[in-house]
């Protein structure tokens, strides 16, 4: 019975479009690096490159002159840098979620988007990691945060959440890279075997460590892959929890909130999926082939995850407001009132609109299947999540305990330049990735295809060993 339903579901929401063979899958994806690239690629890369140049310039000026070029002040000693840091880190989370958590949850639809999302994660974390570094007053000694007895034989101060960040973010980055690269090894091997030019053969040969598709290797590969997924899952939760503790550990009203960890994680996944959609939709246009593997079903699923996490985040906002008023704490109460009615009220309400109101549209399948509107919504969500961080960082700081110390914050040109710069860098990296690396996990797709339609895929068309009764997963057997 259950099998029937599942099989039906598979028919209705196909994970593949059109007839596939292992050959076709490999050719479609594996050949992209060798093909001529659409003009759109050049344009996007150009924009990204321009942004990167701006970023480098902004950082150079910052190092030469000092943090004063930013809008930060006392009391608002954290501004765009931290906002962007949290924003980027959050975006990163979708990748890990797709590759790790969905893998453990045996979601078949993750297969075709995980490689892409993981790449996004890595570049997003790069952008994120940049900010804490340059936002320090003396970046040239930022290495003092590493656990080395470096100055006056001193060690880092491990009670500080910022120190936790150092460990959490660097671990997160390392593990994400390992995870991504490991999944890439067999596909690089495939590219190596198809490469016409000697150079490509050699490079891919080296990068794939001489992978030879041995069954026993596959076995170890799979158990390692599954274990990495198992490790990444708590990791990804911990990372944004730690990021949220950057605020929650403090005593600043509006930061000192117990629900921060879960609600930050939800927010992270939320913004992450928004970013995946923001990227996938144009990529499907740029590379029509991808539509065969990233189908409306995938898009629909991502939209659903967005809706779910979005609702959690919205619940978080309501809880914050509730705590504020219910706490009977003078400062908390004022903080939330100030958010809603203070000088930054437009930001707060814009945030509610973006993250609370707009996503309600995703309840409707019509919207979830309309790429245009989905794209717009994903953009709005990205903005909304950025605004959320602005509200948390700025409106909490600018009026805390002692009114005599209150002030206002406004970004400067250099704040914007740095932010836009990282956006450029991110886009540039994504397109470099698309240019040189198989964008989708071919091996996993073939596996998926075999599990779903193996009987049709097999050449000597006899029925496959087993029906795709359970939701297939590459890790299932290990």
């Amino acid at each position: 019975m259950q099998q029937a339903i599942r099989a039906q579901a598979v028919q209705e929401a196909p994970l593949f479009e059109g007839e596939q063979t292992y050959e076709r899958i490999t050719a479609q994806i594996g050949d992209i690096p060798f093909e001529k690239h659409p003009i759109g690629w050049t344009v996007a890369f150009g924009l990204g490159f321009a942004g990167t140049t701006l970023l480098i310039f902004a950082i150079a000026v910052l190092l030469l002159i000092g943090l004063g070029i930013w809008g930060i002040n006392q009391p608002v000693a954290w501004g765009f840098a931290i906002i962007n840091f949290v924003w980027w880190i959050g975006i990163g989370h979708a990748g890990t979620l797709i590759s790790a958590i969905l893998l453990l949850m045996r979601q078949a639809w993750r297969m075709s988007i995980n490689r892409f999302a993981e790449a996004m994660t890595i570049f997003a974390v790069m952008c994120a990691g940049l900010f804490p570094l340059i936002h320090t007053g003396r970046p040239w000694v930022a290495y003092w945060l590493l656990p080395l007895p470096n100055w006056l034989a001193m060690w880092p101060q491990f009670r500080s959440p910022l120190e936790w960040d150092v460990f959490a973010v660097s671990t997160y980055f390392t593990v994400s890279v390992l995870f991504w690269y490991m999944g890439l090894i067999p596909d690089l091997a495939a590219v190596r075997d198809r490469a016409k030019s000697q150079l490509a053969k050699v490079i891919n040969g080296i990068l794939s460590w001489g992978w030879r598709n041995s069954a026993i290797h596959w076995m170890r590969f799979e158990s390692a892959y599954l274990l990495l997924a198992g490790l990444s899952t708590p990791l990804v939760l911990s990372v944004h929890s730690v990021v949220s503790l950057d605020f929650a550990i403090s005593i600043v009203p509006g930061w000192h909130v117990t629900i921060f960890p879960p609600y930050f994680v939800a927010g992270a996944i939320y913004s992450g999926f928004a970013m995946v959609l923001t990227l996938v939709i144009p990529f499907r246009i740029l590379y029509p082939k991808l539509r065969e593997y990233i189908t409306m079903h995938h898009i629909d699923m991502m939209a659903k995850v967005m809706l779910a996490t979005g609702l959690i985040v919205f619940y978080g906002y309501m809880m914050e407001a509730f705590f504020g008023f219910y706490s009977a704490n003078l400062f908390e109460k004022y903080m939330i009132t100030n958010r809603m009615t203070g000088p930054y009220w437009p930001v707060y309400w814009a945030l509610i609109f973006c993250n609370g109101i707009v996503i309600q549209a995703l309840w409707f399948p019509k919207v979830r299947h309309n790429l245009f509107w989905l794209f717009i919504i994903s953009l709005i969500v990205n903005i909304g999540m950025w605004l959320e961080r602005f509200v948390i960082v700025v409106t909490s700081l600018h009026r805390d305990f002692t009114p005599s110390g209150w002030g206002m914050y406004g970004p400067t040109f250099w704040d914007w330049a740095t932010y836009i710069g990282t956006l450029g860098f991110f886009v540039m990296m994504m397109f470099i990735f698309a240019r040189f690396v198989p964008m989708l996990a071919m091996a996993e797709l073939k596996d998926l295809w075999y599990r779903l339609y193996g009987h049709r895929g097999g050449h000597n068309g006899h029925a496959p060993a087993k029906e795709p009764t359970h939701a297939p997963t590459s890790g299932g057997g290990a």
Binding site: R138, M154, F401, S404
Partner: protein, 1018 residues
Amino acid sequence: MERERDPMFWRSLNERYANKRQLPLYREQLAREFPPEAAPHSDLVSRRQFLKLMGASLAMAGLSACGYKPQGPVIARAKIPEEALPGESLYYATAVTLSGYAKGVLARVYEGRPIKLEGNELHPASLGSTDAFTQAEILNLYDPDRSQNLLKFGQIQPWQAFTSELMQQLAIQQAKKGSGVRLLTGIITSPTLADQIQTFLKAYPQAKWYQWEAVNHDNVYEGTRLAFGEWLNPIYRVRQAKVILALDSDFLYLGPAAVRYAREFADGRRVRENQREMNRLYVAEPMPTVTGFSADHRLPIHSSRIGLLALAIAQAVGASVQVEAAGELTPDERKWAEAVARDLMAHRGESLVIVGEAQPPTVHAIAHAINATLGNLGKTVVFTAPPEAKPTLCTNDIRTLAKEIEAGQVEVLIMLGTNPAYDAPADLNFAELIPKVPFSVHLSRYTDETSALCVWHVPESHPFETWGDARAFDGTVSIQQPLLYPLYANTRSALELMATINGQGGKQPFELVQSYWKGRNLVPAAQFDAFWRKSVHDGIVPRTALPIKSVALRLQPLPPLPEAGQGFEIRFAPDPTLYDGRFANNTWLQELPKPVSRICWDNVAFMSLKTAQELGVVGTESVALVHDSAPLVQIRVNGRTLVAAAYPIPGHVDNAITLHLGYGRTRAGSNGSGTGFNAYTLRSSDAMWFARGVEVVTTGQRYTIARTEEHHLIQHGQLDSTHHRPIMLVGTLQEFKEDPHLEKHRHGHAKNGELPSMYRGFKYDRYQNPQNYRYAWAMVIDPTVCIGCGACVIACQAENNIPVVGKQEVVRQREMHWLRIDRYFKGPVENPRTYQLPVPCMHCENAPCELVCPVAATVHSEEGLNQMVYNRCVGTRYCSNNCPYKVRRFNYYRYTYYKQPVLHLLQNPDVTVRGRGVIEKCTYCVQRINHARIQAKKENRRIRDGEIIPACQQACPTKAIVFGDINDPDSEVSRLRREPHLFAMLEELNTKPRTTYLARLENPNPELSAEAHDAASH
């Protein structure tokens, strides 16, 4: 910068000086290019220009690089061994003068360069404390903009050229008995200088000597003349007064004796568990002042109606005063006057009425009558002869001089120090007059507005560079001894210049001063050396205080009181930090948030909120006080106009504006020029302090103001800048008597000190054996006596090498002061209660800042100091975010004075100069703690209580700050921490601050205390 924002303002001034464009002064233009401390942080470009011009400042370095050994046998303060040990400072007693009157100071001289001024407890005007002006004087000494060269029409000339030309001119005058010679000086109390001038006047009998001070006390003298028939110098015994009435007088802050009065006022006000008496202060004034903020009852009233108030009180106390007065008091004012009168009468002989210098002589006379009637004469107020060398009425002097120049009678004009081209009454057009004088000489420390108009400019030495003497408010003479060799070769003091004119050019200033005092025969010649040594050493010459005159009231017929019409009124007042403008180039004073208004780098036209709204200056109330940019209004006073920024301030009287003097200077130097608006352009000799019939119209332009405190909550006419927060513990004396703990006001405050914690925490207990006795430093501040004068802020700045950041950065809320004075309003917008609270680092035992620093750059010492390790700081600024008191400061740029080598001489060698990108904050003056620790170790003893005095405590005129060791149960700070009305700011956060406060108590008159009460019990 701000200049562009207000073209009109600048156009007018350029026009004003258009004809003087042919006097290009190199540093003047250089200054325009880049205000040294101020602008460079504003953007890239100006920094680039900066580098181009580094050469210029390096040149200054060369000049300042000579030896700093003072000339003449100076005598070191005995509290430190006389021979200078490397690394040890010497303290020299000397005096700082402000419009002629001396305040005694001890200058800390480190390896030949003075770096800090501290009060001289032996000096009557100091009593060991100082005011903000005195603290900042040290920066004047090292001001890179000081004039260094002898100039003729702006061209550098040798001394020879000047003296020969001068002598030649004087030779011509000799023939006419000097009838064409005029001497213009500031008020002079210096006996030696006066002696030189008298010598000169003997040689030129027809020559005349005039004195001019923009902020003068003509009215005080005239008042005494009306009351007693002669010019007298009133001295108040504030300590003896139980009830004090100040009529338009800022006696706690301004004036030669302000520091002393503030101390005496505080002494009569400190409340302890076993000391439950408190004096009561009534203040009637148009614009809130330091004194007004300290009042138990304050009445906002036009200056022109103060007379009516005084008269009403006089009649109520039964003083027989006949004077014709137009106008009526409002019922409220009358009620107030009667209540005050009753209170005064209840304290005969121990009450005091003080009238400000702005009030016409009649009002002074009325006040004297009241004091006489109340039997205060000889008790709370005594009189001496004027301490000045030649008492005079400045306004008459300058008026006469102007007339004479007009009439072409003045051929040689020698000006010592004053700056009439800038601050003379506008109706005299002095700036036009000076060029009319064929031979004009101007001696001044800057090539200022007057120098630019004179034939000759002579650079003046700073008093710390030469010998001199000056009298205090009570006549006590201080010998000023030089603290270092003149920084610049060509500077001369007024005394030297006069000596040169008198043909005594050969004599050293030291000889001049000493020989003068030898000549006074105060002691037998044999004892003179000992006498001299003691005088110079102590900083005061014994037995020079003027004798108290016993006076009897002999009221002259009084001129009528000023027309107290209902028109719009303007009030001129000396600026709280720039005084009459002489401190315009002093960046410390420029950036010191002004007492009362908390504005820096500008003066503004203050007005009440109601008036501001009527003028359309501000919209809704809440907006009114949050905005950073103030609208520009055009002020028209009988024909003269000025465009100034309008700024509403609570407690200001309606239909009036108050303008502070001293701003809008064009040749103050690179920092002072172009700040604020020149109130002198509206001030005429017939209305020196206030005028009626003012028109104010908005221009539609706006002007950015730098303020350090901005936000206020106004709800239906009630102002509460604490936002109902339990920041301060406030109560009345009555409530204190009922319950010294003031429980009913301890809203948010945790009632029991210990709050639960997850951690065992650290114990700071002492060990008995002296070897490893452990100290626990703490500070207690008593806001009841704090008058918010800001002396502590400047003292802290001077002691701790705190940089100035400039207006732009203050606007961006990046001021660096380690110690700020919070100001909170409560009560009706028209006349709220005000509470002030000095806020240094709290040195919390559970410091939130330390916890969040990822590199342990801020940690706790075992003595409980919250230490900031600059060279470990990477600048995440999380500590600042997590500091509930917001006392941490961050170096967003490289703010330190590295661009002006001469300013390197100013730096305190005991305190690290912070670089870019690190956090800094109050250290409890740890360098002083360690200095004392070393002393104690050397003598193998414990540090004594009171041995360590942080800069703020030292400067504080009211001794509101006490620092010490709480592990010693007998230390003063321990005793204060046992007081029942002690509280810690934001106690409920369980930060366990080491800096705690006593409740702010006030002593309202039950008759009037309605609003005082509801203000106290928020």
